[in-house]
């Protein structure tokens, strides 16, 4: 029983990371109806910037700030310089650009920071515990804090309201004087920064290297679709569900080699019954 509890809880820790990635995907999708496939790689790139800071003997919080700032700027820049210009292009063009960016950031990160697998520090001290390591507890806490902070920002600040208004109806937001273009860019920036936090949290577990985020991104997308691609709450719930199921399935049902397959099979099954996801309101029409 203890072992099962441990598997579920440590799955929840991974789930917190997936939840953050899923939330980032959903935020971008809600605002611009695009799927940002590059979000895992910009996050990995940002974590690599943090690693460079650590190598220069910077304290943890400096590296974290550097990573979040890098990701934010990258997100804003991608929206302003690329996505905005493709506003009238087909959704497929944006998909191609995003996959292109994924490869670009993957290669540039390898070129700048190296392709070797490197350890990455956790801000939480190592300790022996019964169920969860301090890092896992920290991951769950940080992901919940990020979710609550984002909710508070969107629901209770003027800027958050303007961002929601822009996501709801771009033309109307412009007609009341909101700088819609910058609101969308800001949304991409914040989403990108959230994914960077996920990368900072996962790197101590999987170690830092250019392909570190690929499985995380797949689980994150799966979580977003499971929860409903237009539902931020769904993304968070989906993330935790996927993480816990993945871990339990890996330990008891199919073994670690097939746990990705098992998790995705369950998600496909859920989506066949509920195409909009658990909390989604409309079926996905584009992409």
């Amino acid at each position: 029983m203890d072992a099962l509890i441990r598997q579920v809880l440590s799955g929840a820790a991974l789930g917190g990371i997936y939840a953050l990635v899923a939330l980032a995907v959903v935020m971008v999708y809600q605002a611009t109806r695009h799927v940002n496939f590059a979000i895992g790689e910009t996050a990995m790139f940002s974590a690599s910037v943090a690693a460079a800071c650590f190598q220069a003997a910077a304290p943890y919080w400096v590296g974290l700030l550097a990573a979040v700032a890098t990701a934010f700027v990258l997100g804003v820049a991608i929206e302003r310089l690329l996505v905005e210009r493709l506003e009238r292009a087909s959704a497929l063009s944006v998909v191609v650009v995003m996959i292109g960016l994924l490869l670009v950031f993957n290669s540039v990160a390898g070129w700048l920071f190296g392709f070797t697998v490197r350890p990455f520090p956790s801000p939480f001290p190592p300790a022996r515990t019964r169920y969860l390591s301090p890092h896992e507890i920290g991951v769950i806490a940080v992901s919940l804090i990020v979710v609550v902070a984002l909710y508070g920002f969107l629901q209770h600040t003027r800027l958050g309201l303007a961002m929601r208004a822009t996501a709801d109806n771009r033309t109307s937001s412009r007609l009341v004087g909101i700088r819609a273009g910058w609101m969308l860019a800001l949304g991409w920036g914040v989403a990108s920064a959230i994914a960077a936090v996920a990368a900072m949290l996962v790197a101590p577990i999987v170690y830092l290297e250019p392909n570190m985020m690929s499985p995380v991104l797949i689980y994150g997308f799966a979580a977003a679709l499971l929860g409903g691609i237009d539902s931020p709450a769904g993304a968070v719930v989906g993330g935790f569900l996927v993480g816990m199921f993945e871990n339990v399935a890996g330990a008891y049902l199919v073994g670690p080699e097939l746990k990705l397959v098992a998790a995705l099979a369950v998600i496909v099954a859920v989506l066949m019954v509920r195409p909009a996801g658990l909390f989604g309101t409309r079926p996905v029409a584009r992409v």
């Binding site: 309201l161 208004a165 709801d168 109806n169 412009r174 007609l175 004087g177």
Partner: protein, 240 residues
Amino acid sequence: MSGPAPTALLALRELSAFHGPVRALDTVSLSLGAGTVTALLGANGAGKTTLLGAICATVRTTGEIWLDGGRIDALPTDAIARLGVAHAPEGRGTFVSLTVEENLRAAAYAGGRAAEARAARVYRLFPRLHARRRQPAGQLSGGEQQMLALGRALMTAPRLLLLDEPSFGLAPRAVGQLFAVLRAITREEGVTTLVVEQNAALALDLADQASVLETGRLVFAGTPQGVRASPALRRAYLGV
């Protein structure tokens, strides 16, 4: 109207507007005096909605648009809105996923401080909106959505109010209420208004200026009395 001609708040000079390659508005020149209410009449497809869109830069234009002595035709939509041009668009364009209250506050985003007082005033004008302030706008009835669109326009403390078919799809009683509020806003506060309306009799009643568009060209600019006095215009737009 008696007295000297009021100074123009909005002036259009040789304004043309395009939907893709199609010229929907053809070299229209028109002035709106400060504090006046102008009814814009015309058949479906005459270019009325396009003209409002042209002022707000939501369609491509050539020609000049002057607001209070400054050219605005090269500005983006949001910058024009921040200069005090409020547009309640056709189909209302409310933020359906936001609550009524959030719709109003989002509209005051650019205006900043006075949001509370303005919202209180909108609720005074439309008590229905106050009763529904915590509901998503998407759940409102057509009449309530129209009230919200107008209320949202008022939240920006506009100098120029552009109204597209405010009576569209409303029950007669709701139309009466809405126009009573419009009359109050325009008469008492002197907000310069350009109103597009299918119901020409209603619009002319509210207005002190009238303009008529036919297939993208301005064919009449004068007073409501002028429209009523012209047998051709009367037949075409008032049906009598």
